[in-house]
């Protein structure tokens, strides 16, 4: 694997080498040629590591208040300064990565688990099953993502778990629609026709023959959805509907920072920068994956 991804690969203009080359390996090579996507992957990994290692690498306790160190400007002692309760902003940003990445990763996973089976069912079954599932999907998509998430979170009550559930539900219709479209496309192909004529039951066709073929577009959409989910979690936490104080989350840190904009601007700069970087990284990664996995969709 690493050999094919190394710079030893023939330059783009060279004629194709007649050598056994799996589609997966070719996709991987296309991905690694995409420098910005690799950069996105690296930044994502750095944030994941920061989130995982926060208890060991954070210089201070993220919730320990200190009345003698309130709103200190960034210094060698406190890289990102301290907040209105004397807590270390750098440590809180590190710990905040946990809430953001967990919300992004878990809610999109839940959205996939919720959306894909319904999409496959709608696409393969057709008829009234498809009509009902499609109309419900349309109904959910007719409310903008963030407003749906806010309304759901409001009725569920303020907590990080509820925010994640709200984001997962709001993000699922896009996966229903994607899986449905791909399943309908696959249903018309000869290999599914062949599998059906051999007497395979529908669930087996869905899981063994259709699902593997729709993984690439789902992976691309999931990556871009994580970016959206991270912004949504930050937005909900900013509104007080996500992570509850004193636990750190980038959104709630920005909410507190707004009140001290004149005295302590660093409180607002760093958590926002963290959201921006991680979202940018996921978007770069998603764009790169799209180019690598589905060259036809370029520029869409």
């Amino acid at each position: 694997m690493s050999a094919s991804a190394s710079p030893a690969v023939a330059p783009a203009g060279a004629p194709a080498v007649a050598r056994a080359d799996s589609p997966g390996r070719r996709a991987l090579r296309r991905f690694f040629r995409h420098r910005l996507a690799v950069l996105g992957l690296v930044v994502v990994l750095v944030f994941v590591l920061a989130a995982l290692l926060a208890p060991w690498i954070a210089p201070y306790d993220p919730v320990a208040t200190s009345w003698s160190r309130i709103r200190r400007a960034p210094s060698a002692l406190h890289w990102f300064g301290t907040d209105e309760n004397g807590r270390d902003v750098f440590s809180r940003v590190l710990w905040g990565a946990r809430a953001s990445l967990m919300a992004g990763g878990l809610s999109v996973t839940a959205a996939l688990l919720l959306g894909v089976p319904f999409g496959l069912l709608a696409g393969l079954a057709g008829g009234w099953v498809d009509t009902i599932i499609s109309r419900i999907t349309d109904a959910m998509l007719s409310v903008p993502f963030l407003i749906l998430a806010i309304a759901l979170a409001a009725f569920l009550g303020p907590a990080l778990e509820n925010a994640m559930l709200a984001i997962a539900i709001s993000a699922s219709p896009i996966f229903v629609r994607l899986a449905r479209g791909m399943a309908m496309e696959a249903k018309a192909t000869e290999w599914v026709e062949a599998a059906r004529s051999l007497g395979n039951p529908p669930w087996r066709i869905a899981v063994l023959h259709v699902l593997p073929n729709i993984v690439p577009p789902l992976l691309v959409q999931a990556t871009l959805s994580i970016a959206e989910a991270i912004i949504a979690e930050a937005s909900l936490s900013f509104l007080g509907l996500g992570q509850q104080p004193p636990n750190p989350s980038w959104g709630s840190m920005l909410n507190a920072a707004q009140r001290f904009l004149t005295q302590a601007p660093w409180m607002a700069v760093y958590p926002g920068l963290a959201i921006f970087l991680v979202v940018l990284a996921f978007n770069l990664l998603g764009d790169g994956l799209r180019d690598a996995l589905d060259p036809r969709a370029r520029g869409r």
Partner: protein, 315 residues
């Protein structure tokens, strides 16, 4: 065309009905007894609670509650705010013009930045101008707009002192002050959408520039300015117009946080305040109105698409 329109409406009506069920069902997620929340200070009085329950029909079966709710909804009655003690419809109508002003300004900013950037980017494909435009667009899409808002307040209000950090003056009162209070939020709202417009315009232009008629125009010796401006752009803008109507609807969602940051008393601030006050009828009403606006806009988008693309009229 008429057949298509009827089919489209035939899809919209069941969609809206299902949506009404979903929005009604939101109430069932609510922890605790709505009567107690609504009673406020008088929650200890069983007499008051019973009266509220009867009034809200909480003592009736669910389907009956839904039927009554839908019936009122169809008559334009969005319910009554628990906190502000005013009909929800009136509240929304009061706030909507503010958001409309903000949204239209943001939309203009997004189009003025995004569409030319997309054209330039496509014309100079894979050259520095294209990379720069792509980079800025991606940054715009990746910036959470509430953070951009805070950073702009920090720069233009706190450090430079050029613009008021928050508040709102209606257009009818003083248009200069009105623009001063809305220009930053409009830019925050429009910035991310400019990125979306840029990417779509670029993709559509690249598609159009690869067409035969563009090659013909070039072969005739037309200057590049005419080829791009008159031949490619006209065709490239068709999908962008449809997208525009959808993005206009999405501005409503962006307005929620932006209005909160800049303390602008619009539609978005209404839902946030309602969430804080646990004023559920207002939350529901805002979701209903947003969905109606969104569905109407996407229908208008489809109609515009048909109107400017004659090839689709027969379908």
């Amino acid at each position: 065309m008429w057949g298509w329109l009827l089919r489209r409406l035939g899809q919209i009506i069941p969609t809206l009905l299902i949506l009404s069920v979903l929005i009604f069902a939101l109430q069932q997620l609510m922890p605790g007894d709505p009567a107690i929340i609504m009673a406020g200070e008088e929650r200890g009085d069983p007499q008051v609670l019973a009266e509220i329950r009867a009034e809200l029909m909480l003592d009736r079966p669910l389907w009956e509650q839904y039927g009554a709710w839908l019936w009122r909804l169809l008559h334009g009655d969005l319910g009554f705010s628990w906190r502000i003690r005013q009909p929800v419809g009136e509240l929304i109508l009061e706030k909507l013009p503010v958001t409309l002003q903000l949204g239209l300004m943001a939309f203009v900013i997004a189009v003025v930045i995004g569409v030319p950037a997309g054209i330039v980017s496509a014309a100079y494909r894979d050259r520095p101008a294209d990379w720069a435009a792509n980079g800025i667009a991606l940054a715009g899409i990746s910036t959470p707009n509430f953070w951009l808002g805070i950073m702009m307040i920090l720069l233009f209000s706190v450090n430079l002192g050029w613009l008021p950090p928050s508040g709102y003056v209606p257009l009818t009162e003083d248009w200069r002050q009105s623009l001063a209070t809305t220009i930053m939020p409009a830019f925050v709202l429009g910035g991310g959408i400019a990125g979306v417009f840029m990417r779509h315009t670029r993709a559509a232009m690249i598609g159009a520039l690869g067409q035969d008629y563009v090659r013909t125009a070039r072969a005739k010796g037309l200057p590049e300015r005419v080829v791009i401006g008159r031949h490619a752009l006209r065709n490239a803008l068709i999908p962008v117009v449809t997208l525009g109507t959808i993005e206009l609807g999405r501005l409503l969602a962006g307005a929620v946080l932006t209005e909160q940051i800049f303390s602008i008393p619009g539609f978005g601030k209404l839902i946030v305040d309602a969430v804080f006050n646990r004023d559920y009828p207002v939350v529901q009403g805002v979701v209903v109105v947003t969905a109606l606006i969104f569905v109407t806009l996407s229908l208008i988008g489809d109609l515009l698409y048909m109107a400017i693309n004659p090839r689709l009229r027969v379908a």
